[in-house]
């Protein structure tokens, strides 16, 4: 009698002893992690060389739950940490997995500079349109006008169009999916791993406990159905036209896929040109030092 073991494809990527996780019922972060796990498998990456760096927030907790070299850093600063990690150890595949507030408010400056430099890191931004972990405050992505804990009478801040911002800053790969688009998201993530340079995927996700609940938009499932209903796949759409609003169309797809020399190549080329034989390329660091 033979026994075949069937494992949940996501399980080998999880720190199973830490389950169940802290995310709320209907939160989409876990769903995005399924796509991430699927992408890691399908991309045939050597998992020893995959490092995940998170900031602070609900999405920031992803690093703690994944069975990879993982770094849970400070609020907004996952990207510069990832930059140092990648430059010191170029053989690593460095993924930044963090939230909209972390990456675009406090971390906004670091994001635009890493994109400008085209540092070879892969950024997954789970955008739940709110600061969730701290109880539902307005984020730079919160569309107007909705109720948040710091805008109890409704928001009036204009909000960022993330793909537009990231493309302008210089990213070579920009895509947006929602947590409804599990397969497309997995495929995008897989593409992203193969892309050299600063690659960015925005994942629109419910925050049923705070964003949706305070605005009487239903629960996580209602939001997933909403995504299904209002999303339009427009690959190649101009990023200037993909801004989100409270109840309007959500444009998803792959918007930008272009080639630019990544930061290490730029550095290497310049130093080689000027120093010739004198240039000693930084090795992936010797562990005995």
């Amino acid at each position: 009698m033979t026994t075949t073991i069937h494992t949940n494809p996501v399980e080998p990527f999880l720190r199973s002893e830490r389950m169940p996780h802290i995310w709320c019922p209907g939160c989409g972060i876990g769903t995005s992690v399924n796509s991430f796990a699927r992408a890691l498998t399908d991309a045939n990456l050597d998992l020893q060389n995959v490092a995940i760096v998170s900031g602070i927030g609900c999405t920031g907790r992803v690093a703690g739950y994944m069975n990879l070299d993982s770094f849970h850093t400070t609020h907004g600063r996952a990207i510069p940490f990832a930059t140092g990690l990648k430059l010191a150890n170029p053989k690593l595949n460095v993924v930044v997995y963090s939230g909209d507030g972390d990456l675009f408010a406090i971390g906004g400056n670091h994001l635009i500079h890493a994109a400008r430099r085209n540092v070879d890191i892969k950024v997954v931004c789970v955008n739940n349109l709110i600061y969730a972990m701290t109880g539902g405050q307005t984020a730079p992505t919160t569309p107007g006008s909705v109720i948040t804990s710091t805008n109890p009478y409704g928001t009036y801040d204009p909000s960022f169009n993330l793909p537009y911002l990231v493309e302008a800053a210089g990213a070579v790969y920009v895509a947006r999916w929602t947590t409804f688009h599990v397969r497309q998201l997995a495929r995008s993530m897989q593409e992203m791993f193969k892309k050299k340079g600063f690659a960015f995927i925005e994942v629109i996700s419910p925050c049923p406990t705070l964003y949706q609940r305070r605005n009487k938009m239903g629960d996580g499932l209602d939001t997933m159905k909403f995504y299904k209903e209002v999303s339009k796949i427009k690959n190649g759409a101009p990023t200037s036209e993909v801004a989100m609003s409270k109840a309007g169309e959500i444009v998803v797809g792959k918007f930008v896929d272009r080639e630019r020399a990544d930061y290490r190549d730029l550095m290497h080329d310049r130093l080689t040109e000027v120093l010739g034989d004198q240039y000693v390329e930084a090795e992936a660091c010797e562990c005995s030092i």
Partner: protein, 385 residues
């Protein structure tokens, strides 16, 4: 182990403190720096940017000190010895990440070439006003190590020491220069690489799967795992258990934070460095550090010429503070004169250690110019009476 010769500029040089500090970092094995320009520290990384491409390493000028202070920590976990350099305003910005380095036990070096503060202050003029900040600037309970060179030669030597202490105790270590030490040019002798001891990173020999990333060894310091070798480390600023996983119960907080503090406090005797001269039989001992100690020496010499029995006590490590030694001195002398380029920082530690057993007389001002020998001499003469 010996220094990697590639980073050692053996020979006799005429360098300023900033440049000598850079050479010290290279000799210690630093191969990554992330920096941000700020007077009077910028020369350290400018030199590093010029030197390291010929040695094998990376310099990246980040967009601000927040980025610089964490990029270097990413590089450490990538396997490099890494540091950054700053002055007051940048130091203030780096505080959160100093806490991260403490909590994650990331070995790294922060150089502060102190200038007049607070705020933008005096960018091109000296002060020693960040001494307490180095110790207490980040939030929470923690201990760090801070070294105070008083010459370009010491800027070289103590920067190597800083890297070695950082690796040994897995803690951020501060090299507290000031603008005068940073910009004064003196002879610096750099020995051959085989005469320079460097501390290798304490990587674990335990294989992945069996290794607990934050389980301390007998010296209260855990060995480090390597990224990219299957250890699947988890490094977090949250209070964590021996696996590195978040564990935010009060009992775990107590256990972890006590150990982080104890690993310095209980090893203090092995870390503390000072220079003393003619303490035995002294009536007055002058306590100073950094550039002020150079002026203090002159004042001490003048006082001795006048027949006063003056001893010298120079802090080489300001933190951990040599409280036992100072307590012992206080019980034997009449007075301690503390000279520093601020309105009273390390003097508080001296007062605390002295516990009233000796008069403590402070000589200082708000920065901008070094002490005049006569200011310190006057204080010595007054307390000697």
């Amino acid at each position: 182990m010996h220094a990697d010769p590639a980073g050692v500029l053996t020979g006799t040089h005429f360098l300023d403190g900033d440049h000598a500090c850079c050479e010290g970092a290279l000799a210690a094995g630093a191969r990554f720096s992330s920096g941000y320009p700020i007077t009077p520290s910028t020369e350290v990384v400018e030199r590093f940017a010029a030197r390291v491409p010929k040695i094998g390493g990376t310099f990246i000028q980040m967009e601000d000190e927040l980025a610089a202070s964490i990029a270097l920590q990413g590089a450490v976990w990538g396997g490099a010895k890494a540091f950054t350099v700053t002055s007051g305003p940048g130091f203030s910005l780096m505080m959160e990440h100093i806490g991260l380095a403490v909590m994650t036990e990331t070995p790294c070096v922060f150089v502060n070439v102190q200038r007049g503060g607070p705020s933008t202050g005096l960018p091109t003029l000296p002060a020693q006003g960040d001494m307490m900040q180095a110790r207490w600037g980040s939030h929470g309970d923690y201990e760090i190590i801070a070294l105070c060179p008083n010459s370009p030669q010491e800027s070289f030597d103590l920067t190597i020491k800083a890297f070695n202490l950082a690796e040994k105790y897995r803690v951020p270590v501060f090299v507290m220069l000031d603008e005068v030490v940073g910009h004064m040019t003196e002879k610096v002798v750099i020995p051959p690489a085989d005469q320079i001891e460097v501390e290798p990173r304490r990587y674990t020999t335990i294989p992945p799967g069996q290794f607990l990333a934050y389980k301390a060894k007998d010296d209260l310091v855990p060995d480090m795992p390597r990224t990219g070798e299957g250890y699947n480390v988890h490094v977090t600023g949250l209070t964590h258990d021996e696996r590195g996983y978040p564990d935010m119960k009060p009992a775990q907080q107590d256990k972890l934070v006590k150990r982080l503090v104890d690993k310095i406090r209980k090893n203090a005797d092995k870390i503390i460095l000072y220079e003393e001269d003619q303490i035995d039989g002294a009536d007055v001992v002058v306590v100073s550090y950094g550039i002020t100690s150079r002026v203090a020496q002159r004042a001490i010499d003048l006082a001795r010429e006048k027949g006063v029995k003056v001893g010298k006590f120079r802090l080489i490590t300001a933190w951990p503070f040599p409280e036992k030694k100072l307590a012992e001195i206080a019980s034997k002398v009449k007075a301690l004169v503390v000279a520093e380029l601020n309105l009273g920082q390390m003097v508080r530690e001296v007062e605390r250690a002295a516990a009233g057993k000796a008069t403590v007389r402070f000589v200082g001002h708000a920065g901008g110019s070094v002490h005049r020998p006569e200011d310190i001499l006057q204080a010595i003469m007054e307390v000697a009476r």
